[in-house]
Symmetry: C2
Subunit: 146 residues, 2 copies
DNA sequence: CTACAACCTACAGCAACTATAGCTTCAAGG
DNA sequence: CCTTGAAGCTATAGTTGCTGTAGGTTGTAG
């Protein structure tokens, strides 16, 4: 059984695309693997483990920058994990904020849709409401991407 | 009282940056305003109204493409607002989906954080959990941006 | 030995802005 | 009237996290 595998296999096991892996290497969240005689990347179990870690973190919404921090902390080895905890808590806060905003948004959309009769656009309440900021239920949604 | 104002004033009233307005013009969600003798953009109440509409939609998470559609429909004037309603409903669906995902994510993060003792990084449960995909509570979080 | 899949690098593109450079115009103070 | 500094102008590059393309090389199966 070969202990090393190609980027294609790693991609399949990691549930991502080949280019994504090369991108991770480029931005320094995945270490540069050794190459074959023909210059192709050779990955091992360690890389797979790390890739799965990254993918899971990404699915949880951590940024690559946060992941880089987590990986650095993981390798530091003998420091208290308070910093790791801090990164996670920081992320939890932003997630909770997004949920709050989206909930307000949902309410507003429901209100808007409920107000729509089958009339003509001239008096369409959706458009009126969208143009009118003052009725906003949520007044704290910033410019941050949803 | 002057009926026309500069891009800086429009930005202030619209709660966005000057470049954003120029960007909106460039991508065609804001109409090109007349210019002064010195080539500076001159905006009027109409533009402000439209900008507020756009900003409000953006805060509600509509894409610029959806906003373009809404604006086109709004100007059509004599068509039923069913299409407008459809855009809003479509958006409501995606919002509800996002909320669901984020809620699962929040649960997972809370679980992860709860498992963190004040130990050392070597055995930090956060890092272990992040590396272990199998315990995932949510198995449906796709690649869509949160 | 010949296809053809999979690999390689390098670069362009996506959304929705934001920031920079290098220039011109406007408004206020002396 | 002149100067100074803020605000405007265009054009272009950068951001994040990828994805897609072009144009070439390597690996593998028949």
């Amino acid at each position: 059984m070969a202990k090393e595998f190609s980027i294609g296999h790693l991609a399949k096991m990691g549930g991502c695309q080949v280019q994504t892996i090369r991108y991770y290497e480029q931005v320094g969240v995945l270490t540069t693997p050794p190459r074959s005689s023909g210059n192709q990347r050779l990955y091992s179990a360690n890389h797979l483990e790390r890739l799965l870690f990254i993918r899971h973190c990404r699915e949880l919404g951590f940024s690559l920058d946060q992941i880089r921090r987590l990986l650095t902390l993981a390798q530091a080895g003998d420091r208290p994990c308070g910093e790791v905890d801090a990164v996670a808590r920081e992320h939890l806060r932003t997630v909770e904020l997004k949920i709050e905003r989206l909930a307000g948004l949902r309410a507003e959309l429901q209100r808007i849709i409920a107000g729509c009769g089958a009339g003509r656009v001239e008096r369409c309440r959706i458009l009126q409401t969208l143009g009118d900021h003052s009725q906003c239920l949520t007044d704290d949604h910033g410019s941050e991407g949803l």
